[in-house]
């Protein structure tokens, strides 16, 4: 009854070029949009130049080392958080897990409170314990179908509680020279902790770019139902991601204990918001599927440079919170690839 509509005969035979007419055009129209993904990096450079212009000492090599040193722990924590956020979930248990890690380590290595001296074996044990807590986060989240927000909020309280319980409220000094050397010894001018953070960056980058887990994290963050249809073991991946996060928070605990030479239950306080902020400032979306460890590196550096800069510029303490707020908004406003995010929550 109806004649079939076909394309004009000229089109038959020649291989059709199906490629996006919409998106491509738009990109070529606005070459700037190609640069959008690098915007957080430009924000970092601009911020550095701004501070450097006002205080030239900012660019001194020693200051770069100091910035790197103050970024080391936040970086390790933020890397753990990055994968969780790319999944579209959140892990609020940073401070609790970090405290458990630091406290366990300080109790297991040579310290001034008991006679333990397990050295690196103790460190490994403690970090494994933190990984186990992360694993529990993931398992409860997936198993009971509770939003990760709540599971990890509860785990935050539990973590700080357990750390308090382990110590009875006191502080333990880490005497072990090996552990302290992470913060005190240097290799190629940078403290070993910085190298550990960089190593972590490298490993997480490889996980993100080169492994199946990394691929699956993005798949789940981009569309969990579709990922499941492609045969991706969604639940297992989620549990693994939370385990990685717990492990890295534990590593953060190690570096904290090494840096301050002590362990106590409040050693992680204030770390949660700074970690999430760094991840988001770097351009990773809280809705998942976007961003990654390189973004996180940039985000952490922005925050570290900001903290360093405020002291270098001598900004009055009561104004610092406000200045920081404005600058964060500016950084995100400049750097977020908002065109890609249809909905901003």
């Amino acid at each position: 009854m109806e004649p079939q509509i076909g394309p004009p005969s000229a089109d038959r035979g020649t291989p059709p070029q199906i490629s996006s007419p919409e998106r491509r055009d738009r990109n070529s129209r606005r070459p700037l949009s190609r640069l959008k993904p690098y915007a957080p990096f430009f924000a970092l450079v601009a911020l550095s130049l701004l501070i450097g212009a006002m205080n030239a000492r900012f660019f001194e090599f020693n200051n770069l080392i100091r910035i790197a040193n103050s970024a080391a722990i936040p970086l390790v924590l933020a890397l753990g958080m990055t994968f969780v956020i790319v999944l579209g979930s959140i892990d609020l248990s940073v401070e609790g897990v970090l405290a458990i890690g630091a406290v366990l380590i300080s109790l297991l290595v040579r310290n001034n409170s008991n006679t333990n001296d397990f050295g690196w074996f103790g460190v490994v044990l403690a970090i494994l314990a933190c990984g186990a807590i992360g694993c529990a986060n993931g398992a409860i989240h997936v198993g009971l179908r509770i939003p990760s927000f709540m599971v990890t909020l509860g785990m935050w309280f539990i973590g700080v509680g357990v750390a308090t319980l382990l110590l009875g409220g006191s502080t333990v000094r880490v005497v072990d020279k090996g552990i302290r050397s992470l913060a005190l010894e240097r290799f190629l001018d940078f403290p070993i902790a910085v190298w550990i953070a960089l190593g972590t960056l490298g490993i997480t980058w490889i996980i993100e770019r080169q492994t199946r887990i990394g691929r699956y994290i993005y798949a789940i963050g981009g569309g969990e139902d579709l990922a499941a249809l492609s045969g991706i073991p969604v639940r297992r991946v989620k549990i693994i991601v939370f385990t990685i996060a717990g492990t890295l928070f534990g590593l953060g605990g190690l570096l904290s204990a090494a840096q301050l030479g002590l362990g106590n239950a409040l050693i992680g306080s204030g770390r949660l918001f700074s970690t999430v902020t760094a991840v988001v400032v770097g351009g990773t979306a809280l809705t998942g599927g976007e961003g990654g460890v390189i973004n996180t590196l940039v985000g952490v550096m922005i925050m570290a440079v900001l903290g360093n800069g405020m002291v270098l510029l001598g900004i009055s303490p009561d104004l610092q919170l406000g200045v920081q707020g404005v600058l964060i908004i500016l950084a995100v406003a400049l750097s977020l690839d908002r065109a890609r995010l249809k909905i901003v929550k």
């Binding site: 539990i158 009875g168 502080t171 409040l266 360093n308 002291v311 270098l312």
Partner: protein, 365 residues
């Protein structure tokens, strides 16, 4: 269905209790003893310490002092923590008042000065005896609430802030630049200690305060600020004053990472174990110990004395009702001895020496 009503309601509750305890144990590891029902002796009042949290050494020691005193009179002992949340702190105190029916003695370090008023009000209403420490509004006075509001104890932050500053100035030889770290801006101790620092600076015109920053009482924040200072001022920093020991410890570690530990003198305040050790090692120039063990025990002891009639608050002079306690400036000279008497062994305190550490009535500002 035929069983009595009590059983019907009883069974699920027991099951729930069981479930809850199991859950609690799962979270808390099996080591914990969650005592669901503690028998409160009818006659002896309950001893209650309300503090910020058990996660910091200062209050943990405070808690030990409280425990020791309760043990000495054979009373039940309860610790309440605010976790920095004023509302929670007050709610917990109200709860324990309701539970004990007012037959209790409270030694409280209010989370923030405003909290003191509702806490005192609640105690007065319930007939409990209360001693407050550190924080209270300036216009709230124990003598307006006889006999229940027994006393308020504080330490003269200005005085000891000045003391540590002077110790620092002495350690750097009387001239040069220093930097200073303050606590959370609005906290009374932070304000007072800073005022003491300024007093010392005024008396020593050769000392220049290069910068003042706030590290919110935290080691980690202090660490990063000190790192940045080293860039900004470099060798100009001759000494570092910190408003508490935690920040001083962060400062020390930041210096240590730059191989400067022991080369730039640091002072802290509070007298935590790490700080005393650092003074002994020559890395801190000084700290001040408040002796939290004394605070935790004597706060209860004084209130208990009022409750049992050993003292009559109304008859005590004002300098016994609102007084500054005695802090000990710990420097290289007395550090070893202080370590022996206060850190290595449990401090020995005469619980009946109520006013032994009074160093004067609190200034009315």
């Amino acid at each position: 269905m035929n069983s009595p009503n009590k059983d019907i309601t009883g069974i699920p509750i027991h099951r729930r209790t069981f479930l809850r305890r199991t859950a609690g144990f799962a979270g808390a590891t099996a080591v914990l003893s969650i005592v669901p029902r503690r028998a409160f002796a009818a006659g002896t009042p309950t001893m209650v310490n309300s503090i910020r949290s058990l996660s910091n050494p200062y209050h943990a020691t405070w808690n030990q002092g409280g425990q020791a005193f309760a043990k000495s009179i054979g009373a039940d002992y309860v610790t309440l923590v605010t976790e920095g949340d004023s509302e929670k702190g007050i709610a917990d105190i109200r709860a324990i008042l309701a539970k004990t029916g007012g037959n209790m003695v409270l030694n409280v370090d209010p989370n923030d000065s405003p909290d003191a008023r509702p806490i005192v009000d609640a105690c007065v209403k319930a007939g409990a005896y209360v001693v407050t420490q550190w924080n209270k509004p300036a216009d709230l006075h124990p003598w307006d609430f006889n006999p229940n509001y027994v006393a308020h104890i504080a330490f003269d932050g200005v005085h000891y802030g000045e003391d540590t500053a002077n110790a620092l100035i002495k350690a750097i030889g009387g001239s040069g630049g220093i930097v200073a770290l303050g606590g959370i801006l609005s906290n009374t101790p932070a304000i007072e200690r800073k005022a003491g620092l300024e007093k010392a600076l005024n008396a020593n015109p050769n000392i220049k305060l290069l910068d003042f920053q706030v590290a919110n009482w935290k080691s980690t924040e202090a660490f990063n600020i000190v790192s940045a200072w080293l860039t900004r001022f470099g060798g100009d920093i001759k000494g570092i004053w910190a408003a508490n020991d935690d920040m001083a410890v962060g400062t020390l570690e930041a210096l240590r990472a730059e191989k400067l530990a022991g080369k730039v003198p640091i002072t802290g305040i509070d007298g935590i174990k790490s700080a005393i050790e650092a003074v002994r090692a020559g890395e801190f120039a000084a700290t001040v110990s408040w002796d939290p063990y004394w605070q935790g025990s004597m706060g209860l002891s004084i209130a208990y004395a009022a409750k049992t009639g050993k003292i009559d608050p109304a008859k005590e002079p004002k300098e016994h009702r609102e007084f500054y306690g005695t802090g000990v400036l710990v420097t290289k000279e007395n550090a070893d001895e202080f370590y022996k008497t206060h850190i290595e062994s449990e401090p020995k305190i005469d619980f009946n020496d109520y006013w032994g550490r009074v160093t004067g009535q609190i200034r009315q500002s």
